[in-house]
Symmetry: C2
Subunit: 354 residues, 2 copies
């Protein structure tokens, strides 16, 4: 399947932890016999759930930790007082080279704050980003959108680096050979938008002219065009990206609710629902967010994948699969060498990234 | 039905003008016998289409103009060279008191630039905003979101004024007595987000303490909660608002496309589609953007309503209805007096707004 790797797991993070976490890694372990797990969290709770999951026999090690970071904990407080937590310990295993990536369904803000502190920024990166897969009608069925909320701001140089980082992600996860990058904006004309997006577009236009650039630049993209798949990588600041993602989530739920409502309206619509069952299930499967679950933290000196807090076993398994794929492809090293080749927004190449 | 009003119409703006425009006003004229129209545009083209619409007999006046602002014209160029256009002339009729509101399906950027120049800002307003109706599951079926893209930036004082302007809109269009205002953010905790949204929240908390404040303040809202209806007015800067709206549009279209695809998959799904027809039509009607078509320009010294550029007659009729409702309720005067009572972000009340 793939070469053997060890993943570090925060067994206590998420709304349904540790059960959904253990069930999730068991689900993925069945498909991929070459992963081992370091499980961080409460030994008793983990062992209880593990007893039912024989597929994991001999493929894990439990590292006990007493603390759990609550889902609503403040990031700054978590960093100061959370060193005994499963989240911090799971990150430490990556920092110390015991695992090639970590996965958590815990508190996103706390995880990013701790990851910055524990793993540190990659050379040349000021603002790390959270990258997510967004369903499209394009050739790869998805595109990569970043930043989804690691930082509420990004200047032109940050956005240009997001393009580099997102392209490596797209090459690995989507199989896009020369990923097409676009900058999210309120229009596609050159004169539209805020100064930082215009400057980012200029920087990217210059970058793709250089030999060895690993992506193409498609200019601006509007949010309603993300799903068309005309870009493989969409870059934006974390405030805008987070709003775009949540607006899409809210709309999908709203349409879904009303679709259900429409089919419960009267006896003929209930009959229609019976006939339509298979079609609706097919649709749901196509756009099921659980199957593409996982925000990848890029721009750090180590790989961390955030599962949705409400993820069930299917969702957590998808995040584990993503972490395994990205770690086997050595995404962190690839990004470092690309940032050294195309130092976006820098005046002189920074050799330290090599 | 309502008291007699005159609306100024840009008959040449939009993808299907003037036909969709004339058909749209005829549609609305049937429902509302107390509207008269000033039709700006090419006399021949307008008269040709009018000949088929007897409901408008004796209820219009044509004002010939030679120029049309193209849908992709640059706003700055439109303002400099577009004084002979139907768009500019339609705005002039409002400025000169001949009509109580104008409606156009033309170029949004050009319309806002011209409106700023022709109608001018309302006293105390630095940044006007475009406000739109957003479908929700809340008590009023919709909420108001602004700014949708009049300006790519907004500081805390602008956002606080958007709250005042949006509340007057919500009271008129939704019938919300004490509209619940929220600020769009990436989380609901006080420490989340950019400085300007935190400052706006502080300003709004202070404003609702003052006697005579016409809205309540609900704090921050995330984009996935807009459709829940927990706020009647959602304020944000025009860049973020535009991205949120287009992300929702893109998602709705994506789900719709796949829904159609799911029902065309094989013979059993085609059969299901037949049975489901009525349910799907009901759903489509519920979330049909044509029926709530119209971005209202707020913060100007005159009322302008922007119809979607691709609007058909149903869509344009909805924009005309909105313009009539807002103008009969005297939204511009109401906003001016509220801004004078609660001068958001100002140190001293500015009497000139009274």
């Amino acid at each position: 399947m793939g070469h053997g790797i060890t993943l570090s797991i925060d067994a206590m993070g998420g709304d349904h932890a540790p059960d959904s976490v253990i069930d999730g890694i068991a689900r993925r372990a069945k498909q991929d016999p070459d992963i081992r797990f370091l499980l961080h969290g409460d030994t008793d709770a983990i062992e209880k759930r593990l007893a039912k999951r024989r597929v994991l026999d001999g493929r894990f090690e439990i590292r006990h930790s007493d603390d759990v970071i609550e889902m609503d904990a403040k990031p700054s407080v978590a960093v100061r007082r959370g060193r005994q937590s499963s989240l911090w310990r799971a990150l430490e295993s990556v920092r110390d080279g015991e695992a090639s990536a970590m996965v958590s369904a815990g508190n996103t803000g706390a995880m990013m704050a701790m990851a910055l502190f524990c793993l540190r920024r990659a050379p040349g990166v000021d603002r790390p980003a959270i990258a997510a897969l967004w369903p499209t009608n394009g050739p790869h069925d998805h595109c990569i959108v970043l930043d989804m909320g690691a930082d509420v701001r990004a200047d032109a140089a940050d956005l240009a680096k997001y393009a580099v980082m997102g392209s490596e992600y797209a090459r690995i996860a989507l199989g896009a050979e020369l990923p097409r990058v676009a900058v999210l904006n309120v229009g596609i004309e050159d004169n539209k938008g805020r100064p930082e997006v215009k400057e980012a577009a200029e920087a990217l236009r210059a970058m793709v002219e250089r030999p060895g650039c690993s992506f193409s630049f498609e200019g601006f993209i509007e949010a309603n065009a993300i799903t068309t798949g005309q870009a493989d990588v969409v870059v934006t600041d974390g405030f805008t990206g987070n709003v775009a993602l949540k607006s899409a989530e809210g709309t999908a739920r709203f349409v879904g609710d009303h679709l259900r409502g429409a089919f419960e309206h009267d006896w003929s619509s209930r009959l229609a629902a019976l006939f339509a069952m298979a079609s609706l299930r097919r649709l749901k499967r196509r756009i099921d967010p659980r199957r593409v679950n996982g925000g990848v933290f890029l721009g750090l000196d180590g790989l961390a994948v955030k599962s949705h807090g409400s993820a069930d076993a299917i969702g957590f398994a998808a995040a584990v699969e993503l972490a395994a794929t990205m770690s086997r492809a050595d995404v962190i090293k690839r990004i470092a060498s690309q940032l050294a080749v195309a130092p976006a927004g820098e005046k002189t190449p920074d050799g330290s990234a090599a």
